[in-house]
């Protein structure tokens, strides 16, 4: 069994983000990068499936991690290898300008990734539900379409289903609104987009990092040309809208003002 996990490198949560002078993207020069959080859960699910496959006598599963981007994404791929992935595919895109990630929309990126996945013929493709930076939530499902695979979204857990044909079908738990979950059986091969929080992540270890050095990291060139259908018009930091107003005066005056605001502005009384 082979599982491909698509992992995206995104700015760290604490990174200080600056908009480029043209106002259409983020200045990457000073940004610290990390693995997209739902992708970390997708990887964890893949690693646990590998272990469960071995325990269920389904043979040795292979976990391949895949990322598209400039050279910097290799640090995230290394991290995935250190946590236990078996090998890595890096679809190399230019740092900036024509063909770079900034110039590609979700559809374009999905094309790049789908191209790389085709060469692997995996039984399962896992992606994160959405990325922490752009949050379009599109890449996974578009990839499924391009690969002609069935897919399930917002997946928390995956298990092997069926008795005789163990491994040919999987059962997934999907998150619905308001704490509800849904179980769906999906035939393999399939693509799942994984929601954060379904598992406990593992910590990176020294042994993992050392072993990762010997694992294969294959570079693929980004064959498909950029075909953007949408256009980023403007990127801006969130505006601070919350305003604090101090009501002053004697206690009765303050109370009167407060009631007035609550009644006519906030409209809760």
């Amino acid at each position: 069994m082979k599982i491909v996990v698509a992992v995206k490198q995104v700015p760290e949560r604490e990174a200080v983000l600056r908009v480029t002078p043209d106002g259409r993207s983020i200045d990457e020069s000073d940004v610290a990068w990390t693995m997209n959080e739902p992708d970390a859960y997708a990887l964890e699910e893949a690693l646990q499936l590998k272990q469960r496959a071995a325990e269920a006598g389904l043979g040795e599963a292979e976990v391949v991690v895949l990322s598209a981007g400039p050279e910097r994404v290799q640090s995230t791929l290394r991290e995935a290898l250190a946590k236990g992935a078996d090998r890595a595919l890096h679809v190399v895109t230019p740092e900036s300008g024509e063909g770079s990630l900034a110039e590609r929309g979700s559809l374009d990126v999905a094309r790049l990734l789908a191209e790389a996945v085709k060469g692997e013929q995996p039984e399962l493709v896992l992606t994160g539900l959405q990325s922490d930076d752009l949050g379009a939530g599109q890449t996974g499902v578009v990839m499924a379409e391009l690969l002609g695979l069935p897919h399930a979204t917002l997946v928390l857990q995956v298990e092997f289903a069926g008795q005789g044909g163990v491994g040919r079908r999987i059962k997934v738990r999907r998150e619905l609104e308001d704490g509800w979950t849904q179980f769906v059986e999906v035939p393999l091969p399939a693509l799942l987009t994984i929601q954060s929080g379904g598992n406990r992540l593992r910590y990176a270890t020294l042994m993992g990092i050392k072993r990762a050095r010997q694992k294969e990291m294959r570079e693929l060139s980004a064959a498909t040309p950029t075909q953007r259908v949408d256009e980023v018009v403007k990127v801006s930091p969130p505006l601070r809208l919350k305003q604090t107003e101090m009501l002053t005066g004697a206690a009765e005056e303050i109370a009167a003002k407060l009631v007035e605001r609550l009644r006519f502005e906030v409209k809760v009384l």
Partner: protein, 655 residues
């Protein structure tokens, strides 16, 4: 040794300085003696060889440096020859032990003489006045040793302190042999020369001697031979961890990872139980027992030999080294009491943390809280899992200036000082003290955890990343001097970071305030604040030997009282070794016991010098503090309260 001198005098006079010689031995007897001597030595070698092999066959300690020899020499003199540690930690039995030890040294010459006599050569008789003196001198020691060993025998078999463990036959036999050696020697001083009695005594003495030798290896009395070497070869620093080299070193995973020093120390253990007696984990019913951990390493080496592939941590609770288990290794607060107490130089922390390193660096340790801590450190860069923006808000609110190279000190906040409400109060109060003194300081714009919890829990990957990051931020900011309120950050930055580079000079706020005591006292207003019991944090006391400066600070603000266990013997608060982050303890809380002990002094205030201790006591006081719990304040807060308000003008936020 004036008392011994007098004894020598009296005994010398009464006994006319003569040791009864046996009548000269015939050829047959001499052959028999030689055969017995050979047999004894052979048996000794046969029993000792596997131990020598286990030690020598273990991994070489790559980081062992003998220099500076002076310090090692001094320790040898003080701890071995003077028996200082043995006596200090257990006065009466310690003194009795020291007497036996010194008596043994005095008897070295007597023993050589005894065997030489067998071959017709009484060396002491030929040595004239010196010989006569020595016979009496040794006689005095024989008396002292006989008394001491009888006392120790009574303690072990009648008083039976629980730390000594089960009553051992071996100890009884050894005590009897020693007593017999002394008694026969003393008797030889009173029986007539060349009498049958003298011959009997000589044979008895010699046979006991020859029986004693082969008993030594394979029993805890091996410490007689090994511990002088162990004390001399001890790693120079407290809780010193070796660097992991190459691609196959992850800590203590199998016998291949045990080093010669670890093996030597394990075989030197005399099973006195002092380590366990002072262990907070053992005292509160955790599975950890440091003495059994040391004996577990010995049991492992005995069963598998050196360089074995068998895992050190065993799952089955009845395994050969059952004390070496993952729950035991992770119950240690790394307080260092055991290492400090051990009279024969066993260093427990490199073993306990080594086992943790082996488990964490290979991913074998799975713990919900531990994983959460590591992920927080990986992702947020702090142990409390907070966003860095929270720290930014705190330093803006306090109007702490950012370090820009123009200030004298970089004030290091640490995770507690950055994110914990009480830790922040402590930092803020200490900043006010610095401002009152007119000392310029700034804080780093960004700070990651110094790596203490990662280091103590054995996560070398994370610790290395944090140390490198920290070194880089200090270098980039051009920091020359650091001051911190946290002893854990202090130790980690000053000692543990050395594996990755040289950090700027760092000191604890207690040292800083004690140095400025004169000026602070002039600035202080109002009345002294009543009695304060000071709690020595493990990482400031035993780890850094900083005992007096915090006391000087406390004395400025109030009347200093001492808890029953203080200074080197201070008892842990329970937070160290990353345990503050590992959720609820099994069994009693370490912090509750210590809090009760501090409260028993009746002091109005508990004075702390570590934000982790402070947080542990804060929680414990809620549970065991009763209706009127004492106040709980850091030493910086004790000082800040007595500074006039106008001395506390706030600094300006730059950048």
């Amino acid at each position: 040794m004036t008392a011994a001198g007098m004894l020598v005098g009296i005994v010398g006079l009464r006994l006319n300085l003569r040791l009864a010689e046996p009548a000269s031995l015939g050829l047959g007897a001499r052959v028999l003696l030689a055969a017995l001597m050979l047999g004894s030595a052979g048996l000794f070698a046969w029993r000792g060889a596997p131990i020598a092999r286990a030690i020598w066959g273990s991994k070489k300690d790559t980081d062992l440096r003998l220099r500076p020899l002076g310090r090692r020499g001094w320790r040898f003199f003080w701890e071995v020859l003077c028996q200082a540690k043995v006596i200090r930690q257990r006065r009466l039995p310690g003194l009795a032990h020291a007497l036996v030890y010194w008596g043994f040294l005095a008897f070295a010459l007597v023993t050589i003489n005894d065997l030489a006599e067998g071959f017709g050569c009484d060396l002491l008789a030929r040595a004239g006045a010196f010989g006569a003196f020595y016979v009496a001198f040794a006689g005095a020691w024989a008396l002292l040793v006989a008394f001491a060993i009888a006392g120790l025998f009574a303690r072990r078999f009648l008083a039976r302190p629980k730390w000594l463990g089960e009553v051992s036959l071996e100890s009884g036999v050894i005590a009897l042999l020693i007593f017999a050696l002394m008694a026969t020697y003393l008797a030889m001083l009173v029986v007539p020369q060349r009498s049958p009695a003298a011959a009997c005594l000589w044979w008895a003495h010699t046979l006991v001697l020859l029986a004693f030798l082969p008993i030594i290896p394979g029993t805890k009395h091996l410490h007689l031979l090994l511990s002088p070497l162990t004390v001399f070869l001890k790693r120079p620093e407290f809780s010193q961890l070796s660097k992991l080299e190459g691609d196959e070193e992850f800590g203590l995973v199998t016998g291949k990872d045990l080093t010669r020093i670890i093996a030597l120390q394990a075989y030197s253990c005399v099973e006195c139980g002092r380590c366990t007696e002072h262990c907070p984990a053992a005292a509160t019913g955790k599975v950890l027992n440091p003495k059994e951990v040391v004996l577990g390493v010995k049991a492992y080496l005995n069963s598998y030999g050196p360089g074995s592939d068998a895992p050190l941590l065993q799952d089955e609770p009845e395994g050969r080294q059952k004390a070496l288990s993952m729950p035991a290794a992770f119950a240690c607060t790394t307080c260092g009491s055991c290492e400090y107490q051990c009279p024969v130089g066993v260093q427990h922390l490199p073993v306990l943390i080594g086992l943790r390193r082996g488990a964490v660096n290979t991913g074998a340790w799975e713990d919900r809280y531990g994983t959460k801590l590591f992920l927080s450190l990986e992702r947020q860069g702090n142990s409390l899992g907070m966003g860095a923006a929270e720290r930014d808000k705190f330093i803006a609110k306090q109007r702490f200036p950012l370090f820009d190279g123009s200030q004298e000190y970089c004030l290091w906040l640490g995770c507690m000082g950055s994110y914990d409400p009480k830790g922040r109060e402590i930092v803020a109060d200490f900043a006010r003290v610095m401002q009152a003194l007119g000392t310029s300081f700034g804080v780093l714009k960004k700070e990651s955890c110094a790596g203490d919890p990662a280091r103590r829990l054995g996560n070398d990957l994370l610790f290395g990343e944090l140390a490198e990051q920290g070194l880089k931020s200090f270098a980039q900011a051009g920091v020359k001097k650091i001051v911190t309120v946290c002893p854990h950050c202090l130790r980690t930055i000053a000692s543990d970071w050395r594996e990755y580079g040289v950090a700027p000079e760092i000191e604890h706020h207690s040292e800083f305030m004690a140095r400025h005591a004169a000026l602070l006292e002039r600035l202080m207003v109002g009345e002294q604040g009543g009695s304060v019991v000071y709690h020595d944090p493990c990482y400031l006391g035993r780890y850094r030997e900083v005992y007096e400066p915090p006391r000087a600070v406390v004395a400025m603000a109030g009347e200093l009282v001492e808890a029953e266990r203080h200074r080197e013997r201070s008892f842990c608060c329970g937070a160290g070794g990353g345990l503050a982050f590992l959720g609820e303890e099994a069994g009693d809380r370490v912090s509750h016991g210590r809090t009760r002990e501090l409260m028993e002094t009746g002091a109005k205030t508990i004075g702390t010098a570590c934000p982790f201790c402070n947080s542990m006591f804060r929680d414990a006081l809620g549970e065991v503090g009763g209706a009127a719990p004492p106040q709980l304040l850091d030493i910086a807060q004790l000082v800040a309260r007595r500074l006039p308000a106008q001395a506390l003008d706030s600094g300006e936020l730059k950048g």
